[in-house]
């Protein structure tokens, strides 16, 4: 069974962080599918992916805070990269806001980058939770 092979903390993270973080994206997809007519809502928006990425990165910070791992280098690398990603998400959000007055900024490029970066954030979260699970099982 897939559910049995996933540890409890990972399962909780998948439901409470990933699913709740995906709510804006899923709702936009649902609404854009339901609305028919000339005026349509775009199915994907960079702001939703930026919010999802920030939620994932904050969950990494939270998990690091409450797990006392001895591995300082790994912890510093993950914290540092999470901070960098949060800064980039902030910058991307500013760019999304600027597209309303500066039309030369390409919104599609920002959408592509924010989607890719949120996928990378998801990958990093998986790796972090993997280590936390193994470390706590072995009693570190």
């Amino acid at each position: 069974m897939v559910i049995k092979s996933i540890s409890e903390s990972k399962w909780r993270w998948l439901v409470f962080t990933v699913l709740f973080g995906l709510i804006p994206i899923l709702l936009r997809l649902l609404v854009s599918t339901l609305i028919t007519g000339d005026e349509r809502i775009p199915a994907l928006a960079p702001a939703d992916f930026i919010a999802f990425g920030i939620v994932l990165q904050v969950s990494i910070f939270n998990e690091m805070r409450y797990h006392d791992l001895n591995d300082v280098l790994w912890k510093q690398l993950m914290n540092g990269f999470s901070t960098l990603l949060i800064l980039i998400y902030g910058t991307l959000y500013v760019l999304v806001l600027l597209t309303e007055i500066i039309h030369s900024i390409n919104l599609t490029a920002i959408l592509c980058i924010s989607t890719t970066l949120s996928a990378v954030s998801f990958l990093l979260c998986l790796v972090v939770y993997d280590r936390m699970t193994i470390a706590s099982t072995l009693g570190e």
């Binding site: 996933i6 980039i88 980058i113």
Partner: protein, 48 residues
Amino acid sequence: MNALIIAFGIIVALAGICLAGWSYIDTRKKYYYEFMKRKSANEKFPLS
């Protein structure tokens, strides 16, 4: 401007993928050897 955003995004995404890969391998190496050292009959290496 747009090219700069795309280039920077790709570089950060690649760095993130590399970091995730390194962390995954490091976790497997570090904790597998830790487990092998203990080698208890009841303990299983948690792969999930």
